[in-house]
C-alpha cells in the first residue's frame, strides 16, 4: 500500500475550503431584529418554543426580522458558554431554556447558572402529572400512595428521561410532599416520553410521570387516566395534588435569557414585545397549536421564581443523594 501525502493534503484542503465557505454567515444588526439561540437540535421542545415565539412575533409585526441558531451539546451548556463568551456581540440574542438549566447547573453538568445570564422572561409552562392505565388497579392518587406506603418497591414509576432528571425528581417531590421517602421511589427510565407511555400501556409499569401536554388529549379520550397534576388549582377537571392534600407544586417553565450585562433599555424592549405578544391572534394560533399554558414572568419575578425552584429541587436532590 502506497501513501501519497501530497494527494491527501490536496484533498483535505479542498474539503476544508468547501466547509469554511459553507459555514461562514453574516451577522445583521438592527433594533427590529431578534436572534434566537437554541441550545438543542431541530424538532425538540426548545426549538419549538423559540420558533413558535419567533413566528408569533413576526406575524404580529412586533419584530421585523428573526433568525434562529441551533447549538446543541453538553445538555445546553455549550450554548450558555457561547452566549457568555461572545456577550459583546449578542445584544440581539435571546436564548431559550427551561427547567433543566436549573437541574443541570445544580448537578454541575455545566459550571454556569441562570445567575450568569440576563433574565428576560418566562413565557409558557407545562405542569407535571402522574398517569395510570384506564383499567389500572389504582383508581386515584390515594390508592397509589397507599400502595407506596405499604411497599415502595411495588410502585414502579416510568419516565421519559434518565434518573435524576425532571420526570424522576418531580415524581419524588410528590411522594415526599405526601410524607414518603423520595429516595425509595422506584423510577424506571425510558429513552423518550413516547416510549415511557408505551411502557405504561404494555403493563410493565403502573404509573407514568410526564408533562400534562403530552397526555391531556389521551386522558380526554380515555386512553390513559391522569390521577393528579402539579398545578396549584385543579386543571380541566383533573385534581391537583395540592387540592388532594399533597403540597406539591411544580411548573416546567420555558423562557428566554440574554447575554450577561445586557443594557436595561434593551431588556425592557424585549420584555415589552413579549408582553404585547400574548394579546395577538398570531400567538393564540401558536399557543393553541402546541397546547401551551401562558406563564409570563418578566425580570425580577422570573428571578424569584427560579430561585424558589432551585431551592426546592436542590434540597430534594440533596436528600436523594444526587448532590
Amino acid at each position: 500500500m502506497k501513501f501519497h501525502v501530497g494527494r491527501i493534503c490536496k484533498n483535505v484542503a479542498l474539503a476544508a475550503c468547501l466547509i469554511t465557505g459553507f459555514a461562514t454567515s453574516s451577522l445583521a444588526s438592527s433594533l427590529d431584529y431578534i436572534h434566537f439561540l437554541i441550545p438543542g437540535g431541530a424538532g425538540g421542545g426548545w426549538d419549538g418554543t423559540a420558533r413558535g415565539v419567533g413566528e408569533a412575533l413576526t406575524k404580529s409585526g412586533l419584530v421585523k426580522k428573526v433568525s434562529y441558531e441551533n447549538m446543541s451539546g453538553g445538555g445546553g451548556g455549550k450554548a450558555i458558554a457561547y452566549l457568555i463568551k461572545t456577550a459583546a456581540k449578542q445584544k440581539n440574542t435571546m436564548m431559550v431554556n427551561s427547567t433543566p438549566i436549573v437541574i443541570r447547573s445544580l448537578q454541575g453538568v455545566f459550571p454556569q447558572s441562570f445567575r450568569d445570564l440576563t433574565l428576560i422572561a418566562s413565557v409558557i409552562a407545562d405542569y407535571q402529572v402522574l398517569v395510570v392505565r384506564p383499567d389500572s388497579k389504582y383508581k386515584n392518587w390515594e390508592d397509589v400512595l397507599k400502595a407506596f406506603k405499604a411497599n415502595p418497591k411495588n410502585v414502579k414509576i416510568a419516565g421519559g428521561s434518565s434518573r435524576g432528571s425532571m420526570d424522576h425528581l418531580v415524581a419524588a417531590q410528590i411522594f415526599q410532599a405526601a410524607g414518603g421517602d423520595p429516595k425509595s421511589v422506584r423510577y424506571v427510565p425510558y429513552d423518550a416520553g413516547g416510549k415511557a407511555l408505551a411502557g405504561l400501556l404494555t403493563g410493565e409499569v403502573d404509573v407514568l410521570s410526564t408533562g400534562l401536554g403530552e397526555v391531556l388529549e389521551k386522558h380526554k379520550k380515555g386512553q390513559v387516566r391522569i390521577i393528579g397534576v402539579t398545578s396549584k388549582k385543579p386543571f380541566d377537571g383533573i385534581p391537583s395534588f395540592i387540592s388532594m392534600g399533597t403540597n406539591a407544586y411544580f411548573a416546567n417553565w420555558r423562557g428566554f435569557f440574554g447575554a450577561p450585562n445586557l443594557s436595561k433599555k434593551r431588556v425592557a424592549a424585549l420584555q415589552l414585545v413579549l408582553k404585547k405578544m400574548y394579546s395577538t391572534p398570531a400567538w393564540e394560533v401558536v399557543r393553541a397549536r402546541n397546547g401551551w399554558t401562558n406563564l409570563y414572568q418578566p425580570g425580577k419575578k422570573f428571578r424569584v421564581f427560579l430561585e424558589n425552584q432551585e431551592k426546592t429541587i436542590g434540597s430534594l436532590m440533596k436528600e436523594m443523594g444526587f448532590l
Partner: protein, 506 residues
C-alpha cells in the same frame, strides 16, 4: 370500516393529494440521498409548508417524505458507503461491495424493487389490520426488547467469516463500549466523558457511521491511490448503469423480499424497535437460512444481503405508523416529529383516530400504495444517471464525499466538537481497516448496545434485580431460544450434513 376505506380511497385519489404524495416522495428521495440528511431533517423542512393545508393532504405529504427519504437513503449507502440513517447501515454491507464491483446500477435497482415491495406489502397489512395491530405494538416489554437486541447482534456472524471471528468479536465489543459513553439513564451519572460537556449526550450514530464508513473509505481510497486502467474503466462504464436482473437473480431475491417485508413490518410495529433493528434482523435471518456457499457471499456483494435489509427497513417504516396512528405513540425520532405535526394540525392520534378522522386515517394508508408506485416509476429511469456519479473523477468525488459527510454531521448539532471527534474516529478507522478489522460489527454493536443495555437495566429494575425476567415471559424465552438456535445451528448442520455433503462431493 368499508365506508372509511372508501372515503380514504376517494380522498387519496383526488388530484391534489396525488400531487402531494408525488411531491413528498420526490422531495424525500432527493433529501434522503444526501449523506447526513435523513427523514427527520426532510420532514422538519416540510412541516412549515403544511400549515394551513388540509390535515389529510399534509399527512399524505409528510408520509411521502418519510418513506421517500428511507427509499433515497439507500443510494448514498450503496454508492459511497455513507449510510445517513441507521436504517440503511445494513444496506451498505452488501450494496457498497456490489457498487465497487461495478454493479452499481443493479444494486440500486434491487434496492428500489425491494423498497417498493417492502412498502407495498406493509401498506397491505396496514389496510387490513391497522386497528387490530395496536395490540401487537403493546405486546413487547423491556425484557422482550432486550432479547430482540441480542438476536440482532447475531448478525455480526456475517462478518466473522474465515479466521476473522476474533476480529469481528473485538469490533463488536468496541462498538458496545462506545455506546456506553454519555449519561447513564439508570443512574444519571456521566460515563467516560472525561469531564467534557460535549460528551454527556454520548456519541451520535451519524457521526460514528460517517466517520467509520464514508470518511475512512474516502481516506483509504486516497492512501491506496490505485490507478484505474483504461480497460477497467471501459468495463465499468458498460455495467455501472445497467439495471438488468437475470431470471435466476429475480428468483433468488423474490422470496427474500417477501420474508423480509413481513418481518420488517412486524418489527416496525413495535415502538421500541423500528427500521434499524428490522434491517439487521432481516439481514441476520437471511444469512442464517442461506446455504454454506451463499453464506460466504454475505458482506461481499450478496443480492440476498442487499434485498433483505432494504425491504425490511421500508416495511418497518410503514409499520411504525401503527403505534403512531392507533396509539399516538412515536417509536422513533422521526415519528415523534410526525406526531408533533399531527397535534399542531389539531389532530390527536389514538385508538379513536380511524373513527374520528376516517378520511385522514385511511387516505394516508391508501396514499402509501400510490407513493411507493410513484417512487418506483420516478427512480428506475433515474438510476443509470445516479449510478454514473461513480464515474466522477476521484479527485472531485472524494473531497465531495468528505465535505458532505462532515457538513451532514455538523448541520445536526452545529457543534465544532463533533467535527474534531469525527476526524479522530475516521483516522482510527483507517488504521483499523488497514490491519483488516471490519467496521460493520462495530456500528452494529454501537447501535444495538445502547438499546440493549437500557432494556436490560429496565427489566432488572422492574424485576427488583432478579434475572427471572429472562424466563418468565414466553415472548422473551422464544426470542432467546431462536438466538441460541441461530448461534448453534452452523455447528449442528456441519456435524449432521457436513459429512454427507463431503461424501457426495467424493
Amino acid at each position: 370500516m368499508m365506508d372509511g376505506i372508501w372515503l380514504g380511497i376517494t380522498t387519496a385519489l383526488s388530484g391534489y393529494n396525488i400531487f402531494m404524495v408525488a411531491v413528498g416522495a420526490f422531495a424525500g428521495t432527493f433529501i434522503g440521498m444526501l449523506p447526513g440528511l435523513g427523514p427527520i431533517s426532510a420532514i422538519a423542512l416540510m412541516i412549515p409548508i403544511t400549515y394551513g393545508m388540509d390535515p389529510s393532504s399534509a399527512m399524505i405529504l409528510i408520509a411521502g417524505v418519510y418513506y421517500g427519504a428511507i427509499f433515497g437513503g439507500s443510494t448514498s449507502s450503496i454508492l459511497i458507503n455513507a449510510p445517513g440513517v441507521a436504517g440503511t447501515v445494513a444496506t451498505s454491507f452488501d450494496g457498497y461491495p456490489m457498487a465497487k464491483q461495478g454493479y452499481a446500477g443493479k444494486a440500486l435497482a434491487i434496492a428500489a424493487y425491494s423498497s417498493f415491495s417492502g412498502g407495498t406489502i406493509a401498506a397491505i397489512f396496514l389496510l387490513i389490520a391497522a386497528p387490530v395491530l395496536a395490540k401487537v405494538s403493546l405486546s413487547f416489554q423491556s425484557s422482550d426488547y432486550f432479547a430482540l437486541m441480542v438476536l440482532g447482534l447475531t448478525a455480526v456472524a456475517a462478518f466473522a467469516g474465515k479466521g476473522k471471528f476474533l476480529k469481528a468479536a473485538i469490533m463488536t465489543l468496541f462498538g458496545l463500549m462506545l455506546a456506553t459513553v454519555g449519561t447513564d439513564a439508570d443512574s444519571g451519572v456521566s460515563r467516560y466523558t472525561f469531564g467534557d460537556i460535549n460528551l454527556i449526550d454520548g456519541i451520535s450514530f451519524l457521526l460514528l457511521a460517517m466517520a467509520s464508513f464514508a470518511l475512512s473509505e474516502a481516506l483509504i481510497n486516497i492512501i491506496e491511490n490505485r490507478k484505474v486502467t483504461k480497460e477497467e474503466k471501459a468495463a465499468l462504464k458498460k455495467e455501472i448503469g445497467s439495471l438488468k436482473l437475470t431470471k435466476a437473480e429475480v428468483k433468488t431475491i423474490a422470496p427474500v423480499i417477501g420474508r423480509s417485508s413481513v418481518l420488517g413490518f412486524f418489527v416496525g410495529v413495535l415502538p421500541g424497535a423500528g427500521a434499524t433493528i428490522a434491517s439487521f434482523l432481516a439481514y441476520g435471518m437471511e444469512r442464517s437460512i442461506a446455504n454454506a456457499k451463499e453464506k460466504l457471499k454475505f458482506g461481499k456483494g450478496s443480492l440476498r444481503g442487499l434485498a433483505a435489509p432494504e425491504s425490511a427497513n421500508n416495511a418497518a417504516c410503514s409499520g411504525s405508523f401503527v403505534p403512531l396512528l392507533t396509539l399516538g405513540i412515536p417509536g422513533s425520532g422521526t415519528t415523534a416529529v410526525i406526531l408533533g405535526a399531527l397535534i399542531s394540525y389539531g389532530i390527536q392520534p389514538g385508538p379513536t383516530l380511524y373513527t374520528d378522522h376516517p378520511a385522514l386515517f385511511w387516505s394516508v394508508i391508501i396514499s402509501m400504495y400510490i407513493g411507493n408506485l410513484i417512487l418506483l416509476v420516478l427512480n428506475l429511469p433515474l438510476i443509470p444517471y445516479i449510478a454514473k456519479l461513480l464515474e466522477t473523477p476521484r479527485e472531485l468525488l472524494l473531497p465531495l464525499v468528505m465535505f458532505f459527510s462532515l457538513i451532514g454531521v455538523y448541520l445536526v448539532t452545529f457543534n465544532t466538537f463533533d467535527i474534531y471527534t469525527m476526524v479522530l474516529f475516521s483516522v482510527v478507522a483507517v488504521f483499523l481497516r488497514i490491519v483488516d478489522y471490519p467496521m460493520a460489527p462495530m456500528i452494529l454493536g454501537f447501535i444495538l448496545g445502547g438499546m440493549m443495555e437500557n432494556n436490560l437495566r429496565r427489566a432488572l429494575t422492574i424485576s427488583d434485580g432478579s434475572l427471572s425476567f429472562l424466563w418468565e415471559r414466553p415472548m422473551t424465552v422464544t426470542i432467546l431460544v431462536i438466538t441460541i438456535i441461530m448461534l448453534v445451528w452452523p455447528l449442528i448442520s456441519q456435524l449432521l450434513f457436513g459429512k454427507i455433503a463431503a461424501s457426495e462431493d467424493n
